[in-house]
Amino acid sequence: MWDTVDGMPVWQGGKTDWAAAAQAAENCGAFRADCEEECVADDDVSCYNCRFRRWTRDSFVCMKERCL
């Protein structure tokens, strides 16, 4: 599910792997919902809706290790 680029985890599923992003967030103890206007997934708990995801052109980087 994740690649490592420059030491940071990059989501392999791009911006539309809704089911996998929800599953990943369910299994992550660090999920924190972003503000409403930045949430894009219908699933409330999803990496796509997490405050720690930093969007890139094709996907996102998980910043939780750097922020927590």
Partner: protein, 242 residues
């Protein structure tokens, strides 16, 4: 007079978002008797790893009707300095909303900020021709938020499409309604399908999941889709991301 208020780069991972900050600032200004604000539109700017955005690089813009521009400007500036996240790089743009103004340059700047990396110098250069009709101000850190603030105001003035802050929630016990009823109930100025075509007001919609309105053609717009023969407001995941 009517103004566009736009802010950017006000948050960090622990603070409220820029949209909520603008909402609070708008409401606080109204409570001070400075006028009345409108709905908030979110504009997605360029996603590029070289830009120092927190997580999504978007700016937020609303209109505000006021009788005292100077007092409103001073209020917004002090509000941002008191309420933006420490370490953020906030910028504020206040732009006259007047159909007699030609916003082509500012809208073009906003579109550039959605597709390429632009600088603060570019922002001030684009704003220069607008004289006292625009004010750009920096309120901490690098002040690089003026780029997104001007871009958002230019996009809004140019009636470019953006997402409207807030959700439209279904009414309990009312899973279906006609498209016309849906538009009236949620104050939508137009209702279109995913191809952008107007929807028959008599079409029956199933509305059981929250949805969002978009700002399109200068109007508050609802979008509906047909899934398995059922017409319904577009779920979030069907909306284009970034």
């Amino acid at each position: 007079m009517n103004l566009f208020l736009c802010i950017d780069d006000t948050d960090d991972l622990d603070s409220i978002g820029t949209g909520e900050l603008l909402e609070n600032m708008r409401d606080a200004a109204a409570a001070r008797g400075l006028g009345q604000g409108g709905f908030i539109v979110r504009y997605q700017l360029l996603i590029d790893e070289t830009i120092p955005y927190t997580s999504h690089n978007s700016s937020m813009c609303c209109t505000f009707e006021t009788h005292d521009r100077d007092a409103l400007t001073a209020f917004c500036q002090s509000y941002l300095e008191a309420n933006c996240a420490e370490g953020s790089d906030p910028g504020l743009c206040i732009l006259t909303n007047n159909s007699g103004l030609d916003y082509t340059v500012l809208t073009a700047f906003g579109k550039r900020a959605q597709t390429e990396v632009v600088s603060k110098r570019d922002a001030y250069a684009a704003a220069a021709a607008f004289g006292s009709d625009v004010s750009l101000s920096e309120h901490g850190g690098t002040g690089i938020g003026v780029i997104g603030a001007l871009a958002g105001a230019g996009l809004r003035a140019g009636r470019q499409e953006g997402r409207i802050k807030g959700k439209l929630h279904p009414l309990p016990g009312r899973p279906t309604m006609t498209a016309g009823e849906f538009a009236a109930l949620y104050a939508l100025s137009q209702l279109v399908d995913t191809n952008g075509q107007p929807v028959d007001p008599q079409r029956v919609l199933t509305f059981t999941e929250p949805t969002k309105a978009v700002f399109r053609d200068g109007m508050v717009t609802g979008v509906v889709c047909c899934e398995n023969g059922v017409w319904k407001p577009l779920p979030k995941r069907k909306k284009e991301k970034q």
